[in-house]
Structures are given as structure tokens and as C-alpha cells.
Subunit: 496 residues, 2 copies
């Protein structure tokens, strides 16, 4: 027996056990080749990756330490005597091996794999193996099975009779594309419930949750969210509280560093979350462009069909909008700058970015047509009336008021540099990836006031030396870093 | 800048960096979604998986901690001020992504991937992705490219003109199969140089290095090994000192816990090590049986052809022996028991296990025929003469004397239990996997005296209650554990 200790180390979604190299009970070496150990106490058991501690100040020779997540998953108090035994890997991994060898998995197989993943029984290398096996080859039936399996292990929001529940989701990749913050108030103004949960940025300069947080609190617990939707018909909150698809969260924690995202995994991930969120009517936005996630019309159509097929099987009313993803949307990139653009559109300001407005109206129109009372084809005109009449702005103000004030006031970064055109010409292209990266280096989204303010878009004429965009930053280090990157390649292609 | 600290935690072939959650320089959260960080100081840079520390006693808020391996790889002293930057993943991972998407990789591609793996630039999940992509599909040209790439990043033993250098390798899986300890002295007695490096057991009850260590020291540095082969023509040492294929060692550290081993990876792994070991003439032993690694004759032939093809391309003289792997070889399983069987064969004892003797003579005969002076087909008779004349025993004693005495005396486990037949009958099968597991639970190989002594083999008659085998153990816990497992399923199938 070893004494259980909690080591205050967060091993980020991986169960890790720590053993002193001079452990009095076990040869640490004996477990090393196996990669993992199993910690047992009566019926409880935890599989964990093994690390070896050489410093008795961190862990004693008769102790077993568990990292933050592992300690929580085992759920026993410090000081409990526990056994350490050779690991029995999750049985479902046999199915992953079969898939690697070329077998398609059935729905029950996928359910078993996802149950073990959600139950924290897979090491990250096993999750990587599953993801790569799926990325190599996946049947449509497997995509459906995976989506259903992910829904089954999560919570499911209950809107208590409220119906329909509209929702939208953009597959991402286009800087400044903050249409949700305009679409939600328009749809809510019409009276159609649209509870929108969004993520924070991980690799982009802003997620909808980051930008909304410039205007209001987004950290809203589930019960409060339900009230919100009853009162204001819509909300724009951070989805981190709602553990809708815990298996997907774990998969993503491995998928993201590998930067492997396939059509199949994208559809399973999005639709498992939306079905669990209780959405009944869903619009998926797929931007297409040379520097977007989806780069050709053919690819977009294949993705659309997979969304439609899986959506149908899940009983969702699902529409797909394939949109222009050839350049950033609006002018601002970064939370404060994007919030400025959104509010300009909602207020009907003369200088509001037209592309952001048009895009939001188109998407809102398609969602409004989910309402049986709206005539087919009449959605976009209705959306325009709701926006131009100020009803959408009023809805947004109601949502902001109920969600509460932002946790901190955010101001535009005061360090400003203009990036000039190198020659006379016409803007031929804006590289979404490059521009997002420069905005991120300037400090977005952690520094909410940092980012890029685009002064020229595709088709605009510019003379040599005239500014293409402004970089805003809050600290000198970020400012220098972003400028250096912009000097190397500013992401704007001029046709001279 | 953060201050570099060495954390005395061995994260087992994974670079891990530790950051205090309240780091004064960085938002720890900001790196979390990326999975990794890059630690930089001037031209030096290290990619590491990020863990977060919540205990200032382990790591301060202005420090960056590196685990054992990561600290060594960065190679800077504690206290050095270093930068923490968002990670630039290894460029070669783009090739892995291409392979996942279905592209076959060229030799230069595989060289780039293997260089980055050997340079510790891949996280374990990235290595898992590469392994699974290869396991899903691999062309023969890719196997050759992978093997060459692994040879290129390692050391290469130089036998300084000694030629030919004979070697043998068994793909494993059969308990008690200690033919190397008989083959090496026979071949050495003939004067053909055969420097044999072996591994210790990781999941089996004994590796050749574990069993040889009952008789002699096996921990022999490289320079001493070269003298040994000049003096005694052969050696039987542990291969752990010789970093012949560092990339393969890293791949195996991920492959093993995943328990994914394909024909292609097996061939690349073995041949990269043998080519690096400077072997010119190699015999590969492939045991085939219902509980062996290779379960059908067809599978064995496919594996043989791949070995032959890649061996030819590398310029090795390579022969494959497909052998009977239907049951354990000899009687003892576990280091002391196996050493007893080996010495009984070398001494020509009347009760020496005939199957171990026959097998060793067959393999030794095939290696002896690598000698141009030995007539085709005459090798096995020559091997028998070298064994029966005592020349092989003398060669083994010379090898043992030069390698030196074992680090500790090992005695047979004094706790003994006999496992009886449940009925009258004939032994129909012995389950290699099950019997290995029971021997391992009895304490082998860490407890050298633990293991199983088989009293009946396939085809033997037995009466109800008569012993099938004896379990030997050194501690009560292991003894009870092994007995309980044997009671559940002893691994012997009786035909009644």
C-alpha cells in the first residue's frame, strides 16, 4: 500500500501518477515500460500515466502522488492507503486497434470508446491513436455513431417546452466574423428563442465570447441562462460552464495541438454539441476562401452534405449557408475593435461595415425562415426591418442588461502603428491566417484592446505610403512583435 | 524572462515544462489550448508539453520548471533567464498530416520526421499520430525509408575490420525461448564473431539479458564489448548502453503502451538496430503458433519477405527461420529456471530439454552456414559437434569469465506450488501468453528466482491431480497472486 497524495500540478486533461524512484513498495522501473499504472482502492480504480519523482521534498518513497485532474477523478481524500497494480488498459482500445487495422466500427463500438474517453480511461496517446485512425478513414455511419456516442455521455439542456430553439454556428477561420452578435438580437427581436453559447479564442485573435465580454458579462451559469432566454429570447454567453459534450472537449484537447481536423470530426464535434444544447433548428455557416478553413466550393459542398445527412439522422432541422470567406469581415480584428463594428451595425451608423451588416442580415434571414409564419424568401427583408427599426439594438441592450456589466472595462490599445502600402495599386487579397496571427501577436484576445483595424479591403485602391491597416497594442513587447511580423509579410496582397 | 529551474521529475521521454498558474510574466491559460510552449534562450530552443503548478513550494511565479529529460535536452544551467514563446511545431509534422490524409512519404520526408523525433521535437501525441498513420498504411518503399532514416540518426558500431559479423534476432513472444545463450557459444566456438546485444524483459517474464545476468555481468560498455568479441568471438550483453537507434527507442516508448505493432514497424525497428550494430549476416527467428506473435504460416511468409526485401536493400546477408511457436520452449520460464535449462543443454545433461537443444542447433547451423567454408546443409551437424564436444560450453565459460560475475547471486524462489491437472488426459496446448503472465505475476523477471517450471508439454499424458507445472516465487504477495491467476485459468488445455 502507498499513501495517496495530491500534487498541485495540473497535467491538463491527462491523468498522471507520480512515484518516487526509491519507492519502498515498488520498483518504479517495472512500470515504466508499460507507460501507465493503475491506482486501486476497493472498487475504485484510476488509470494514469506514470512520472518518476527524484526529489523527496516533492513526494516521499511510500507515497503515490496524483496530479490535479487524476486526484479529482479518483475522488479519495489525501492519506488514503491505495494499491498500485499493473494497468489493465480499457477494453475498448481493442476496437481502436481494429479500426487502425481497417475495420469500420459499429455504433456500439463507438459508444464503448467514447464512454471510456469521457470516463478518463484513455491516455492522450490513445486518444491521438483514435483520432488519427478516424482521420485516415471514416464511414458516414461511423460519423453518425460517433456523434450519437458523444451526445450520450454528456448533459443535455432542457428548455422545458420552449420550442423551436434556433441556433447558429460558424466553422470559423475568418477574422472579424462576429455575425452572431448581430444575428442573435435580430432573431430574438422577432421572438424566436436563440440561446447562443460561444467559445473563447484559442488560436484566433477573438472568439465571440471574448468580444461579447467587452459589452457584457458572459460568464452565466446554466439556470440563469434559461431565465435569460425566457426574458430576452436570446443570450450570448460563454459555453465553458455547460459541459455539453465532455468527450468532445477531451478529443479537442488532443486534436488541437495536432492541428488535425477532418470534415468528419468537425461535423461530429459541432452537431454533438448542438444536439446536446437542445437546439432544434440550426444554421451552419461555412465560409469558403483561399485562406479560410474550407478552400474550394467542392469541399464546401461535401461538408454541407455531411452536415445535412447527420443533422437529418439526429432529427435536427439543419440549414447550411456557404458564404464568402475570401477576406476578414468588417474592419476590426480583436475584441474591442470587433465590438465597435458590431455596435455600429446595430446602431445603423453611417460608417458601419457594410459586409458585416450584409452577412448578418443574410444569416439572420435564413434563421427567421425557420419560423413557419415567415414566408419562404422573406426572411432577409424581415431581418433588415428588425435591424433598421432599432428592434435588434433594443434586443441587444436587453440581453446586455440581463447578462450584466463586463468584468472589466476594456479600452482600445493606445500604442498605434500604421502599416503602409509598399506601392500604388489595388488590394487583391487579404490573408486571413496571416492577419489573424499579427492581431494575436499584438496581444488579442487576452489584451482585449489589442488587434488590427483594417482601413482597406479587397478591391480598394491605395497609393504608396497610404495606410493599409492600424495595429493597436497595449504593451511595448506585443507592439514590437506584431510590427516586426507585419514588416516581414503584412498579409495584404497589392495588385500593382 | 523567466528563471530556469530543474524539477526532479522524470516525465519518461516527454519534454514537460511547468509554469506557475500565477506566473508574473504570462497567462498560463494562454498556452494551455496550444498544448505546448517553446522555451528559448538565444539560438537554443526546446518544445515542451505544458503543465501548470498551483503550489509555490514546487515552482515560483517567475520561474519555468523543466522535467528531467527536458532540462537535459535544453542543456542550460539552473537560474538562466529564458523566454517563453508560443510553440512553432516541428515543420516535419506537416508531412505526418499529409500521410494521415493518404500520401505516401518519400525517403527525404521520413528522414525529416525521424530527425525531429530523435531531436526530441515531437510530443508523444505527435509520435502516436505518426505511428498510427504508418500502421494504417505503409508502402514497402516507406518501410525502407523509415529504416534508413532511423539508422541515419543513430550511432553505428565499428568492428574495425572484423568481418563477417553474425547476429541473430527472435521476434519474441515464446516463453523460455533462450536459444541465443546456446547459439552464441556454438557460433563463437567455430570462430565466427557474434556479438549479441539483448534487451531486458518489459512485458515478458524474462529477456535474454535478464537470464544471462543469472550467470554473468551483462552491463558491458561498448569499448569493453569490442575487446570481448576479439577475445571470445562472442558476447551476451545488455544492449541498453549502445544507443544504436535512438529514434526507435523513442518510437517504442509510445508503441508499447499502445500495443500496436505492425509488420512494417517491426521490420524497420529490428533492421535499423541490427544495421547500426554493424551486423553483416543476420538470422531472424519467427516463431509461429496459435498464441505466438505470428499466428499463421501465411502471416509468417509475408513477414519473411518483408525482412528479406529490406535486408537486401540495406546490404545485409539475411536469412529467416520460421520456427514452431506452438508452446513455450524448454521447461523453465523466468531467469533462474531458464539459465538452468541453458546450462543443462550446454553441459549435455541427460535431462536437458530436447526442444531447446534442437531449436538452438537448427538456428546455430543456419548461422554457421554464413561461413563460406561451411558446406551448404552441413551447418546443423557442425553445430551438434561443437555442442557435444564441449567446445560450446568452453566458449560460454570464456564469455562468462570475461563478462565477469553477476551483480548478485540469484537463487530459485523458495515458495513452491504445484498446479495439478483437473482431469485425466493429454496436454493439447499451452497458452504462451497466459503462462508468461502467471510467471510474471510470480515475480519474474525482477525477482530472478521466480517463474514457472513446466513438468508437462504438448502431447504428454497426465492423470487427474498430477502436477502440470510448478510456480516458484520469492514473496508471499507474488506467490498468492500467481496462484490465484493459475487457479482461474492455468494456461494448459487438456484433451480428455
Amino acid at each position: 500500500m502507498l499513501t495517496l497524495r495530491h500534487l498541485a500540478i495540473d497535467t491538463v486533461r491527462e491523468n498522471v501518477a507520480f512515484l518516487n524512484r526509491n519507492c519502498t513498495r515498488h520498483h518504479a522501473e517495472e512500470f515504466l515500460g508499460l507507460g501507465r499504472v493503475e491506482v486501486r482502492k476497493d472498487a475504485r480504480s484510476l488509470l494514469a500515466v506514470l512520472n518518476i519523482v527524484d526529489d523527496p521534498a516533492i513526494l516521499g518513497p511510500d507515497e503515490i502522488g496524483l496530479s490535479g485532474p487524476a486526484f479529482r477523478h479518483l475522488g479519495l481524500p489525501e492519506g488514503t492507503p491505495v494499491h498500485l497494480v499493473p494497468p489493465t488498459p480499457p477494453e475498448s482500445f481493442e476496437l481502436v486497434r481494429a479500426k487502425v487495422a481497417g475495420r469500420a466500427l459499429g455504433e456500439a463500438d463507438l459508444a464503448a470508446v467514447i464512454r471510456d474517453i469521457a470516463g478518463h480511461r484513455y491516455a492522450k496517446i490513445e486518444i491521438a491513436a483514435f483520432l488519427i485512425a478516424c482521420a485516415s478513414f471514416m464511414t458516414t455511419a461511423e460519423v453518425l455513431g460517433l456523434t450519437r456516442a458523444m451526445i450520450a455521455v454528456g448533459a443535455r439542456l432542457d428548455w422545458k417546452g420552449l420550442s423551436p430553439i434556433a441556433d447558429k454556428h460558424c466553422i470559423g477561420g475568418i477574422p472579424g466574423n462576429r455575425t452572431s452578435m448581430i444575428v442573435v438580437p435580430i432573431v430574438a427581436a422577432h421572438g424566436l428563442p436563440i440561446p447562443k453559447t460561444s467559445s473563447r479564442a484559442i488560436t484566433s485573435p477573438a472568439g465571440t465570447a471574448d468580444t461579447m465580454e467587452v459589452l457584457a458579462n458572459v460568464d452565466v451559469p446554466m439556470d440563469r441562462m434559461q431565465e435569460l432566454v425566457r426574458e430576452a429570447k436570446g443570450c450570448l454567453v460563454w459555453g465553458g460552464h455547460v459541459r455539453l459534450s465532455p468527450a468532445d472537449d477531451i478529443l479537442i484537447s488532443v486534436e488541437r495541438p495536432l492541428a488535425i481536423d477532418t470534415r468528419e470530426q468537425l461535423v461530429a464535434s459541432i452537431l454533438s454539441k448542438k444536439a446536446a444544447a437542445g437546439s432544434s433548428h440550426l444554421l451552419i455557416d461555412i465560409p469558403v476562401g483561399p485562406t479560410a478553413k474550407i478552400r474550394s466550393a467542392g469541399e464546401a459542398v461535401r461538408l454541407r452534405k455531411l452536415f445535412e445527412h447527420i443533422g437529418d439522422q439526429l432529427g435536427l432541422v439543419l440549414e447550411v449557408a456557404i458564404t464568402d470567406g475570401s477576406q476578414p469581415v468588417g474592419r476590426g480584428i480583436g475584441p474591442v475593435l470587433e465590438a465597435r463594428d458590431v455596435m455600429a451595425v446595430l446602431r445603423g451608423a453611417a460608417d458601419a461595415p457594410q459586409d458585416l451588416r450584409d452577412r448578418a442580415l443574410h444569416l439572420a434571414g435564413r434563421i427567421l425562415e425557420f419560423d413557419p409564419a415567415v414566408r419562404g424568401g422573406a426572411g432577409e427583408a424581415l431581418a433588415r426591418r428588425l435591424l433598421d427599426s432599432g428592434a435588434a439594438l433594443a434586443a441587444m441592450e436587453r440581453i446586455m442588461a440581463i447578462q450584466g456589466p463586463p468584468p472589466a472595462a476594456a479600452r482600445l490599445g493606445s500604442l498605434v502603428a500604421e502599416v503602409p502600402a509598399a506601392a500604388d495599386g489595388v488590394v487583391g487579397a487579404l490573408d486571413c491566417y496571416r492577419i489573424a496571427r499579427i492581431a494575436r501577436l499584438a496581444g488579442a484576445p487576452n489584451d482585449k484592446g489589442a488587434g488590427i483595424d483594417l482601413l482597406r479591403k479587397v478591391g480598394d485602391r491605395v497609393r504608396k505610403g497610404e495606410p493599409l491597416y492600424r495595429i493597436h497594442a497595449g504593451t511595448n513587447a506585443d507592439f514590437t512583435f506584431a510590427q516586426a511580423h507585419a514588416a516581414e509579410d503584412c498579409g495584404v496582397v497589392l495588385v500593382t
